[in-house]
Amino acid sequence: MLHRATLRRVLLGALAALWLAAPLAAQKPAAQKPAGAKPGASGSTDPGRAESPPSDAKPADAKQAETSARTATVALQNDALRKELALAKGTDFYLLVDPVRRTLRLMLSGVVLEEYHLHDLAIGTFRAPFQRSSALNPAGLLATQGALDPPRERDRFELVVGPGETDPPPEPPVPPPAEEIYRIPPRYWIRYADGVAVEVRSREESRKASLKTLVLEHIWEPLRMALADLRNKNRDKVRLLLEMSREDAAALYRVLPPDTKLLVLPPT
């Protein structure tokens, strides 16, 4: 059997190995390198950072780069505008996610019906250890046939009447206000037919977490989801996470019409 000192060394070595393995296991999504990207003065090829051309670059090159950048931006905006116009000309309800203004709008025929402020917006794709996950392209993301999960359940009063009945049928009871009719889950999903799912959660529920909730959320829930996702071949391709106030999350759950579509706007 191992001596105490040896045991201590083995344990420290194992912890060090886990510490090193965790970043490898949690792979970031493939960062798309721009085609023909040249390293700047710092030698960085980070696509998220605006590159200033080298000081000795010709003005024509700089203008060309600016034109290309502007063209790409306008092309992306036009793609989203076309989709938004098609939705606005249709007869279906749709949700517009604006990542810059941090708003979620319920729309119909180009008219804003409701607007909700978003405290947090995130997008994610499924990942597995030591594998690069697919690139995230949220701008212009369009999804159809949204359905609430869990679904909204409403008790309907049924009145059966027949001809010739002498007693008048009972009067339906006055229903309570909408805030009392539906039981709002702390987090819910809007699942779309295109492998897109939107998770809506309230900021208050996230913040007032007890130790039990933290353990459930950060240990049990990821384990359960990972096991379920590993078994589920039809997993969501893309998940959007939207965090809003409790009132807004509840209001959206109550009013969301069936088959609502979704469009994510590009940054402007």
Binding site: P29, P34, G36, A75, L85, T125, R127, A128, A178, D229
Partner: protein, 249 residues
């Protein structure tokens, strides 16, 4: 006579060694539960780390969108002519979107929370409590076995007809609901004063009208129509001509 060192030292060493071995055996017996526990903790930690690596990795949406934009910028270079063409199309699309928003008054009705909003160019002119469909299901047991579901429809509509001092022509369900026989004569179907001072029809028998039961405004108690209080109804009737869009969700 003193004992010879040659016989006492080896035995002392042997007993010391024996003692050390016995101590190590006792320590080994004490250590193995600790080793088992530490091994389990290690396996659990490794399992959590590995399984945490599975699942959905989230990134801020704005950052992901900007990265996508930056990646698109690195595509094949474009000329000024192409840029000008894209910008013209951008303006055209943006203008087309703006054109879809009604220029005059329009109504937005939240039938879940029983709220009506009268708007003009995205500015709210009036916010009122209303009553929408209660969702009651009426089933006729005998005869035609008809079924009615009293929901307010969702979607885009428009004001088709405006009536002052509307008269309600009671449909069959109104008689069944009260346990009354359905009259054969149409003249027996009319009720006066039930719908308030004004009514705005928006199709399929649905209307925005007044009510005798203003205390129930804010609750879903109607058979599908939208009920408003007297003062709010006056303002809506005065502001909304025929053709005014109505959005109900």
């Amino acid at each position: 006579m003193a004992s010879t060192p040659s016989t006492s030292v080896p035995s002392a060493i042997a007993s010391a060694v024996e003692l050390a071995r016995a101590r190590r055996r006792r320590q080994k017996r004490r250590r193995w539960p600790l080793a088992v526990v530490l091994g389990c903790v290690f396996l659990l930690a490794a399992g959590v780390v590995i399984l945490r690596a599975y699942g959905y990795g989230y990134h801020p949406l704005a950052q992901a969108a900007k990265s996508q934009l930056a990646a698109a910028r690195g595509q094949a270079p474009a000329g000024l002519e192409q840029l000008a063409k894209l910008e013209r199309e951008n303006k055209r699309l943006a203008a087309a979107l703006v054109d879809l928003v009604p220029k005059g008054f329009y109504l937005v009705i939240d039938q879940t929370h029983n709220r009506l909003s009268l708007r003009k160019q995205d500015q709210e002119q009036l916010k009122a409590a209303c009553s929408a469909g209660g969702g009651v299901v009426l089933i006729e047991s005998g005869g035609g076995k008809r079924k009615w579901v009293f929901d307010t429809p969702r979607g885009r509509f428009s004001v088709l007809r405006k009536v002052e001092n509307p008269v309600w022509k009671k449909p069959d369900w109104a008689f069944l609901e009260e346990g009354e026989p359905i009259p054969k004569n149409d003249s027996e179907r009319f009720e006066y004063g039930m719908l308030g001072e004004y009514a705005l029809h928006f199709g399929n028998g649905y209307m925005i009208h007044g009510t005798l039961y203003e205390r129930l405004l804010g609750r879903s108690v109607t058979h599908g129509c939208i009920r408003l209080g007297r003062d709010d109804l006056r303002q809506v009737y005065a502001s909304c001509p025929i053709g005014t869009p109505i959005f109900i969700y």
